[in-house]
């Protein structure tokens, strides 16, 4: 498998920045399994919007670049958002019998995430390609 060093560096830098932003917010997380996990919810929805924006722009609006998508999409948005934390939070809600909260958190994250990607994509496509 051929790996481009510039591409890997871009993923690393983007991932480091996204992770710092998420980790700063995570320090405000409430350890109580009965509360809505705002920090994770916020970074996930924001990251979904940003990846929709960046990726649509990079694939459909800007000239091909070998490191922008790894930097902004895979790195920054991937590092900013997290699936594993969301699943462990949901599991803890289920273990504490907060079934409604667990179902609501999962449904709201996915619904808001998909709407965020859709809106960001529509926003980019609304702007005509400059000739």
């Amino acid at each position: 498998m051929a790996l481009d060093r510039r591409e890997l560096t871009a993923v690393f830098v983007g991932g480091a920045l996204g992770t710092v932003a998420r980790s700063v917010l995570a320090t405000f997380a409430d350890p109580d399994a009965g509360r809505w996990p705002w920090p994770t919810f916020a970074v996930n929805v924001l990251g979904a919007f940003l990846v929709g924006y960046f990726t649509t722009r990079l694939l459909e609006r800007l000239p091909l670049s070998s490191y922008r998508r790894p930097l902004l999409g895979t790195g920054l948005c991937g590092g900013l958002t997290t699936f594993s934390t969301m699943q462990v939070e949901t599991l803890k809600m289920l273990e504490h019998r907060h079934y409604g909260l667990a179902a609501g958190y999962t449904a709201a994250s996915i619904t808001a995430g998909l709407i965020a990607v859709y809106l960001a994509t529509a926003l980019v496509r609304r702007v005509r390609v400059r000739s």
Binding site: M1, L3, E7, L8, V11, F12, V13, G14, G15, A16, L17, G18, T19, V20, R22, S23, A26, T27, N44, G47, A48, L50, V51, G52, T55, P70, G73, T74, G75, C77, G78, G79, L80, T81, T82, F83, S84, T85, M86, Q87, V88, T90, L91, K92, L94, T106, S109, I110, G113, L114, A116, V117, Y118, T121
Partner: protein
């Protein structure tokens, strides 16, 4: 929180993202189907790892570095949502629904499996 811890958060966050990129590519190359198996693989393996970490008694700093920074960055919500939205846009409704359902059901199961492993250690 010291500067060294934040330097660690950055380094491990970068490393988690690079590992995700490499695993995603390796899987996508072996299973060249329109279904995003690469993202599913990193997200499920990451959920096992974070379940395991959350089941262990670790100091606040170690759990921030290993769990929040490394495994948190290794898994991704944004790409999962992006790939699902694009599948739906291409009228691949069933693969899009399956990508959500399988990730949610197996994601919680994977986190449970990780916690179960932690209990045996």
């Amino acid at each position: 929180m010291t500067l060294a811890v934040w330097a660690g958060v950055m380094t491990l966050g970068g490393a988690g993202a690079v590992l995700r990129f490499v695993v995603d590519r390796a899987v996508a190359r072996r299973v060249p189907r329109p279904f995003p198996y690469g993202t599913l693989t990193v997200n499920l393996t990451g959920a096992v790892l974070l379940g395991l970490i959350s089941g262990l008694t670790l100091s606040q700093h170690v759990s921030l570095l290993a769990g929040t920074a490394f495994v948190g960055s290794y898994t991704t919500f944004s790409t999962w949502m992006f790939e699902t939205q694009r599948l739906a846009e291409e009228r691949q409704v069933w693969p899009a629904v399956a990508n959500i359902a399988v990730s949610v059901v197996l994601g919680v199961a994977a986190a449970m499996a990780g916690q179960w492993i932690a209990g045996r250690l």
